[in-house]
């Protein structure tokens, strides 16, 4: 049993502007824990989380991999999230390196085929398209959930970068909901990028049917 990272340093004020861990977050932690042995067996050197929010997921990944065994990079478009990510890393003794950035943009050229564990819990909630554009531009809390048509607008943009980032044995963990059309995501990644995928875990939480997918070559 890997302990859930300590978030006692965060307050209600933080959660007004940074996504508070919820069922989707905990399903992702459970999926990483279910894969813990396989992740350790990779001896990952570079871990990258997109949209790290509080930093709970990378702190958990750091506990699985070992704090000094890999570089834990995180990006988020919300500067308040990156500040929380840094604090959560310190609180849990995982040296996380947060960057205010959109997806993996400033890292794609140098991390070509170099990321061993890639994680993204995207804004997956179906909304109007205009809403997602504004949400991503503002870098506020709605950017953590507003996903546009099918909830796939931000995820789609990132899926095209995954193949370029993953190391030969690297794996990519993605959170999705049923409305995102999981079979369509799996087919796209297989046909266009030759990345095969499996559903690690799925769970119903209220009105959401949540999935964690794992992609690898």
């Amino acid at each position: 049993m890997i302990p859930t990272p300590d978030l006692s340093h965060l307050t209600k004020e933080d959660y007004k502007r940074v996504y508070e861990p919820a069922e989707d977050t905990f399903l992702l932690l459970d999926a990483l824990e279910a894969d813990a042995d396989a992740i350790r067996a990779l001896a990952p050197r570079v871990c990258l989380e997109i949209g790290s929010g509080t930093g709970i997921v990378s702190s958990f990944l750091g506990q699985i991999v070992g704090a000094s065994d890999a570089l834990f990079l995180c990006t988020d478009i919300n500067p308040l999230s990156t500040a929380c990510t840094a604090r959560t890393g310190s609180q849990n003794k995982i040296p996380i390196e947060p960057l205010v950035a959109s997806l993996a943009r400033p890292l794609t050229s140098r991390l070509r085929h170099a990321v061993d564990v890639l994680v993204f819990n995207p804004p997956y909630v179906p909304t109007y398209e205009v809403e997602v554009d504004a949400a991503q531009r503002n870098g506020g809390i709605s950017g953590s959930w507003a996903g546009g048509t099918d909830g796939m607008q931000v995820t789609d943009a990132f899926l095209r970068q995954v193949d370029g980032l993953l190391s030969p044995l690297g794996r990519f963990y993605l959170v999705a909901v049923k409305q995102n059309n999981v079979p369509k995501i799996k087919n796209l990644m297989s046909e266009v990028f030759a990345l095969q995928s499996e559903i690690v875990l799925q769970r119903r939480a209220g009105s959401e049917h949540l999935f964690v997918l794992r992609f690898a070559r």
């Binding site: 990079l73 960057l99 400033p106 140098r110």
Partner: protein, 124 residues
């Protein structure tokens, strides 16, 4: 917080800026040392992903001249310890900036966290 290991992975991604956009030049950096666990296996495993010339240049920009200018073929204990210090323990503690050597775009560092966002018209 931002350490040279991370700086070594960041390139300018402004619209049309595709050559000579790495490494970003460090300016106004205040250096802080933060202790980290020494892990030789990690350093050996990570070193192939480091651009050596960029690391040497960046370490000199922050006032450290301990690294050899050529990428070493053998990693002895002394060199591993130097690498550990330069890559993982030296951090730019607070404010500063990183400038693209090609297009001159300035990426600010605030509270130790680089801001790599671009305005909409700057995105390629």
């Amino acid at each position: 917080m931002v350490r040279l290991i991370t700086h070594n992975l960041l390139a300018c991604h402004a619209k049309g800026c595709t050559t000579n956009n790495f490494p970003l030049k460090l300016t106004d950096i205040k250096l802080a040392l933060r202790e980290a666990d020494f892990n030789p296996d990690f350093l050996r495993g990570f070193l192939p992903r480091i651009e050596w010339d960029a690391l040497v240049q960046a370490s000199r920009e922050i006032g450290d001249t301990s690294l050899p200018s050529e990428r070493p073929e053998m990693l002895d204990d002394d060199l591993l310890k130097q690498l550990h210090r330069v890559l993982l323990e030296a951090s730019h503690s607070h404010e500063g900036s990183m400038t693209c050597p090609n297009c001159g775009h300035v990426y600010p560092i605030s509270n130790g966290i680089p801001n790599m966002l671009l305005a909409e018209h700057e995105i390629g």
